[in-house]
Amino acid sequence: MIIEEQQRHAQRRPDPDVTLPVIGPSQTFSIVTEQISSVPLRRKMPLLWQITFGIGLLLVFVLLISATYLFGKGVGIFGIQIPVAWGFAITNFVWWIGIGHAGTLISAFLLLLNQSWRNSINRFAEAMTIFAVACAGMFPLLHLGRPWLFYWILPYPNTMTVQPQFRSPLVWDVFAVSTYATVSVVFWYLGMIPDLAALRDQSTSRLKYAFYGVLCWGWRGGSRHWRLHESASLLLAGLATPLVLSVHTVVSFDFTIAILPGWHSTIFPPYFVAGAIYSGFAMVLVLALPIRAVFGLHNLITERHINNCAKLMLATGLILAYAYLIEPFTAWYGGSQFEIYAFHNRAFGPYAWAFWLVIACNVAIPQLLWIPRIRISPKPLFVISLAVLYGMWLERYMIIITSLHRDYVPSAWFNFTATIWDNAILFGSIGLFITLFALFVRFLPMISMYEVRTLLPFSAPDGRSEK
């Protein structure tokens, strides 16, 4: 059967509209299914996975130790001080939540646009979203003076007879982030149900059969089920697309609604959304390139995918560069001396190093992506993506610190310096992300099998490919 499928495949003519193929040559339904399901079902994990998981776990312990110390001592262990009341924690929050955005964009927005190349990268991009949001959600709570009272932000009948203040963007943020987390999990899980059923059917032991059988809710792949599944996927994609644009908009409201020079700006919502997608695509590449090398998935994650991700990174990076240019212009054109000072201080003040590093990492280095050869070379692309991730973290750091550290009254000026605990929690959250992602790769189908099947030749009744 497999040979027959391969022979039929060999007769396929290349599509002239597409320069790089979405899927490697000589793939069949069985090969694709076995290749993807063998990772969670059979394969002993490669050494590189074990090392990565070990590093992740080690950093999770760092996180646990620092969180314990933080809960014991309070936020005084951080470098923050009035007027710099927001430090690493909020920077990390904005950074992580931004990283999540590319996952939703790939899974929802590109589904609506019928971009079938997304089919082999959407699953792990969505997983990336969920783990990034999990890391992000932790930080506002860690940053609370009394984190055990975090639920006071939620509206519920209580004996104190007080309620949250719905005119505050911080309350909006709670709703935006928790909705985003919930919808991302639901969308991810919905897409995974048919693949979990495939794992159930391929499973080699009773334990695995029960595990995947329960997770897939008894999916059978009937035509009426597929119809509802497809309808639900499209509806969720339609709902998630405006949602993803709203989340970083609401995050930017946390800044813009304050009357602080450097924060109080109408360009923030689109600027933040573009930056979020930018860092998200960088993270997609940072994850996709090693995964494809370690698990030999070059036939499914092809040059077309990394080329497209690199192009999207370049495009969003240019939007961001435009925002960097317009911000100081608005400050100058507006004529407010505090605004002008804030931007002058950003570029030439005590945190000038951060500003120029941001320009280097987010604006200068990614221009290399104009060169087609670099867009399909894993190593340079990996390094550029890391630079973008670093640059985007530093950008949020710069926005938060430079605006806060120069208050209107010079007597209140204060320079922020990170403590070891600031760094420990940042790296701890990276460890949490690595650990969760490694576990995902180990136990769940990291590439959507049923969507990849629709890309194969002969997946449609007339012998062509369904998508």
Partner: protein
């Protein structure tokens, strides 16, 4: 032969083209309790078995979304204007423009949860066991085989007749499936 009642007759195909031809043949003979089981959605089958767009789920989702909007506005109005009124710089208690963000978020939240649970509900899931799972080869339907089942619930169902019809449609195998 088991004593259990028959659930239906299942034919296994190697190719989506054969499956679609078989569905068309079975459907033209007047069988209506027919279902296919495939490794990925095949729209040509859906067009024969259930023509027209899916309407129930989008309506449910719309209702869920509207409920979300109203819940969010109702909650914020009740808390800000009745339960815990606070005068912030003389702004009206029902300052609805400030409520829009949460109204938007809860609209999306309610609609998305309706889409997920609505789909499961309309599919009749979760259903841990189904008679078709008694067929050992049925596990291949999530890999590379295409199954067609004519259910015994069909008024025209007659074991030999259906088996003959299916056997003539170039299947790999035709099997009887029994209820538990």
């Amino acid at each position: 032969m088991t004593e259990n009642p028959i659930y239906g007759i299942v034919a296994e195909f190697a190719d989506p083209g054969l499956l679609v031809a078989a569905v068309a043949a079975v459907h033209s003979r007047g069988y209506r309790k027919v279902e296919t089981y495939t490794p990925y959605p095949i729209h040509e089958v859906e067009e024969i078995l259930e023509p027209g767009p899916e309407r129930r789920l989008p309506r449910l989702v719309l209702a869920g979304g509207i409920l979300g909007t109203l819940t969010a506005w109702g909650m914020q109005y009740y808390i800000a204007a009745i339960d815990y009124p606070l005068n912030i710089g003389g702004r009206p208690l029902n300052s609805w423009p400030a409520f829009i963000v949460i109204m938007f978020e809860l609209t999306i939240l309610f609609a998305s949860l309706t889409a997920f649970f609505g789909m499961l509900g309309l599919c009749g899931l979760p259903l841990p066991h189904h008679p078709l799972f008694n067929l050992r080869r049925f596990a291949l339907c999530s890999k590379n085989r295409f199954f067609l089942c004519v259910e015994a619930a069909d008024p025209l169902f007659e074991v030999l007749e259906v088996a003959d019809l299916l056997a003539g449609l170039d299947p790999l195998e035709v099997s009887e499936v029994y209820e538990d």
